[in-house]
């Protein structure tokens, strides 16, 4: 074991990864900004759904643009490897801060990026082919500890495998849900659209997607199958980019998968880049291994990374300790690489009453954006948060200790809708915890699988 952590490998793969990550994130921010989503998602809304334990993360009004600017600039600095440590810390903090503002914008790939950025802070990704390496000979190295690259590979494996395991369920494999609903919506695509009229296509896509997720990290790891695997990566993610509104995610995964390629492959990329910007070859060949500040630093980092990866394995399985159907209650659903698994929609009519006989039916559009309302109406923890917002709002209007009830109705993967929350429960009195929420009504149906 000890000898494994002594092993070194060429720094080129991590340098390429750093450049790709920085540029793609910069592109993501520019895209996000230009579509007006900063305003739409973080400035326009009157209320925000904070994460449990992160209530101190507040929207910043117009200052939100500054956060995005910081995020974009630090992404560029990471790409070119200038002031890398500071830039990577800022990138992680600014990106994560944005994601923590509102639960209704949660996407698994944002969480993926946050976690990757967190790891990147501590990895010597600036040792090679970076401005820092040119400016500071102490940092400069062309060999780095092997575990530095392997930790990213392991993390990517965890992501794919759990995404695959999540698809091993009866809705996905036996009913081809929700693809059976989503694919016909794309039947007006030029050339290929007609194929989505066939139900069997949804089955093929479901099974292929599941097998893809479960096998791709291993096929990428193995030298013999790597090229084939990468072609599969390209086809799979380009297809998802065409079919679903998932933004930059496909391109980020296409770039990330490169990390599995050999050092020789990445050296060639770097050499090409170097020739392009006229950097002499001797800058790249140093024959020097990167050293952490001290042996203790190195040990602490290794322990921290092992712990981090263990947490990443445990987190997606935490739903096992909750009773009830995961897709219905969503207790333990987030941060678990459960992507594209549910067509879930609902409506939630809130009623606020007080002891003096005041009563009002809440118009959700006065409090929430369309996106927030859509997310809230199917997710119990957000329903509770919203109920508390309403409680406080109507208390401010003179309601005496307001009671909040919800008449909810949710459909999941084509099942006829039914109430999600017990309409007799006063949500104003319930508190949000990590323990099971007994006021979520039973699903009364089975989705077999992991």
């Amino acid at each position: 074991m000890n000898s494994y952590f002594q092993k070194t490998t060429h720094a080129a793969p991590l340098a390429v990864f750093r450049i790709a990550l920085g540029l793609l994130l910069f592109g993501s921010i520019v895209r996000f900004w230009s579509k007006g989503w900063i305003d739409q998602l973080y400035i326009q809304p009157k209320y925000f759904f904070s994460y449990y334990g992160f209530e101190f993360v507040k929207p910043l009004g117009e200052f939100t643009y500054v956060i995005f600017a910081i995020c974009a600039i630090s992404a560029l600095l990471v790409a070119i490897g200038l002031y890398y440590r500071a830039a990577s810390v800022l990138l992680f903090l600014s990106f994560t801060y944005i994601e923590l503002i509102d639960k209704s914008t949660y996407l698994n790939h944002y969480y993926f990026i946050s976690m990757i950025c967190l790891m990147m802070i501590f990895l010597p990704a600036h040792a090679y082919f970076s401005f820092d390496a040119v400016r500071n000979k102490k940092v400069s190295a062309d060999y780095i500890p092997k575990w530095c690259i392997d930790s990213i590979k392991v993390f990517v494996c965890i992501v794919y495998v759990f995404a695959g395991l999540a698809k091993v369920n009866s809705d996905w494999l036996l009913e081809a849900q929700p693809l059976r609903i989503w694919l016909p919506a794309k039947n007006d695509l030029p050339l290929v659209g007609w194929i989505f009229n066939y139900t069997w296509v949804a089955y093929v896509f479901s099974w292929a997607g599941c097998l893809y997720d479960l096998s791709i990290p291993f096929l990428l790891s193995n030298k013999k199958t790597r090229l084939f695997a990468y072609i599969a990566v390209l086809i799979f993610h380009v297809l998802t980019a065409i079919l679903f509104p998932i933004g930059m995610f496909p391109y980020i995964m296409i770039a990330t998968a490169l990390i599995f390629f050999s050092a020789e492959f990445h050296k060639k990329i770097i050499e090409r880049l170097a020739r392009l910007i006229r950097i002499p070859k001797n800058v790249l060949a140093l024959n020097k291994a990167y050293a952490f500040n001290s042996a203790t630093t190195s040990k602490v980092l290794i322990i921290a990374f092992v712990l981090f990866l263990c947490v990443q394995v445990v987190l997606p399985m935490r739903h096992l300790i909750y009773p009830g159907e995961l897709f219905w209650t969503e207790q333990g659903y987030r941060f678990s690489w459960r992507v594209m698994l549910m067509e879930k929609a609902g409506s939630a009519q809130f009623i606020v009453k007080d002891s003096e006989g005041k009563a009002v039916a809440v118009d959700n559009t006065k409090f929430l954006t369309a996106l927030q309302e859509k997310m809230m109406s199917t997710q119990p923890d957000m329903i509770l948060q919203y109920a508390h917002m309403l409680r406080d709002y109507y208390a401010g209007l003179g309601f005496k200790s307001p009671q909040v009830y919800v008449d909810s109705y949710v459909t999941l993967n084509g099942r006829l809708g039914k109430p999600l929350i017990d309409s007799k429960i006063d949500l104003a009195k319930e508190t949000d915890t990590f323990s099971h929420k007994p006021w979520i009504l039973s699903f009364n149906n089975e989705i077999a699988g992991f």
Partner: protein
């Protein structure tokens, strides 16, 4: 992972089927063009065989009303008033068959705001009569025009027909009053004419935007349709008068019924609107009466059904439409009296309508995969 024996077997069967299908292809199935999932066919059917003929039918009735209104304007008298009123009832009933088309030209004009916002603003009508140049486009004017304002002006200004005629023949005020009456009718004529003439140039864009995203025609129509049923049939016609909505605090509002001053047509208006909504769901051709491409045919083509009972979603929705029709049939002609004398049947009707709203708003839109926002989404 827990898997019962039954599920293990089912996984195996589906897996084997897929392997065979992937190898053998599925070319023996019917061509996708005629299996009902072509949204362009539905959009074209909506425009050509439902929306436009419905507008034409309405325009015929409306023109009759306008003619009668002009006669009344020229020679105010009880016979002219009675004929005007009859034509108004006919036109109002026909309006119920087009109010749901608040998309495209009607949406740009916000036609409903100028045709059917009630209860009408009696005091506002009074002040508008005295100010012939008042801007009728402003939101404050919505409830001072359209069918509800006419309802007041030809049924509500006095208790007998003789007195109503005298309201318009009054030596000092009559001319202003009849001018306002006439202004409203002319304005309605201009608006509906604009909407109808706006369709031919909009048609092409309408039927080619075949997506299901927020700007698509299918999305527009679905949202307008569901909103109409929820807000203007369920709440407007039944919920608010009966106090079924919490917003009314549970107390009845006999003065907030549709056609309050005419008194005896609130049921027929509600029935006409409900039937129009149902016919639209089923794609009933307005001229031939035959069902065509529609929400129903699309849901059937998608195979949308309740997973537990196996019943098709379109059947469940139609059953709910029938339940509501039955409830409506049990109500009296005059909702204003109904809510005061026996409100429970109104509340029961509302409850059934609420169930339908959910089926349309949640189950139907989810089954059709209609998106509501532009932003990225990974389906969770």
């Amino acid at each position: 992972m827990t898997l019962s024996k039954e599920y293990r077997l089912r996984f195996l069967v589906v897996f084997a089927t897929i392997v065979m299908m992937s190898c053998g292809g599925g070319n023996s199935e019917p061509s996708p063009a005629d299996n009902g999932k072509d949204r362009q066919v539905i959009l074209a059917h909506w425009v050509d065989n439902i929306v436009l003929p419905s507008y034409d039918n309405f325009k015929v009735k409306f023109d009759v009303m306008k003619t009668k209104a002009d006669v009344f304007k020229q020679t105010p008298g009880v016979p002219a008033l009675v004929e005007f009123r009859t034509a108004w009832v006919e036109a109002y009933l026909e309006w119920q068959k087009v109010e749901l088309f608040e998309f495209g030209p009607a949406d740009q004009t916000t036609l409903r705001n100028f045709f059917n916002i009630y209860p009408t603003d009696v005091a506002g009508i009074g002040s508008n009569i005295n100010d012939p140049t008042v801007n009728l486009n402003l939101p404050a004017s919505y409830a001072r025009q359209g069918f509800p304002a006419l309802d007041y002006l030809i049924n509500g200004v006095a208790s007998t027909d003789d007195q109503i005629v005298m309201f318009y023949t009054n030596a000092t005020e009559g001319a202003k009053r009849i001018a306002y009456l006439s202004r409203i009718v002319d304005r309605m004529n201009t608006l509906i004419t604009n909407v109808i003439s706006g369709w031919p140039s909009y048609r092409e864009a309408f039927i080619t935007k075949t997506g299901l995203d927020i700007g698509s025609s299918f999305g527009l129509v679905t949202n307008a349709y569901v909103l109409y049923y929820e807000r203007y049939i369920r709440s407007g016609k039944i919920g608010i008068p009966s106090g079924a909505t919490i917003a009314t605090g549970g107390s009845v509002n006999p003065d907030k019924v549709e056609a309050y001053y005419k008194k005896d047509i609130s049921l027929s208006l509600a029935q006409a609107a409900h039937t129009a909504a149902r016919d639209f769901f089923n794609g009933k051709d307005v001229i031939t009466g035959v069902e065509g491409p529609s929400f129903k045919s699309y849901l059937d083509a998608l195979g949308s059904k309740d997973a537990t009972s196996g019943t098709a979603l379109s059947v469940i929705i139609n059953q709910q439409f029938t339940k509501i029709s039955d409830k409506l049939n049990g109500l009296g002609n005059n909702f204003s009296q109904q809510v005061q004398n026996e409100n429970q049947p109104m509340l029961d009707t509302y409850a059934e309508m609420q169930k339908l709203v959910r089926l349309l708003k949640v189950d139907m839109t989810s089954a059709m995969s209609i998106t509501i926002t532009y932003t990225d989404n990974d389906g969770d």
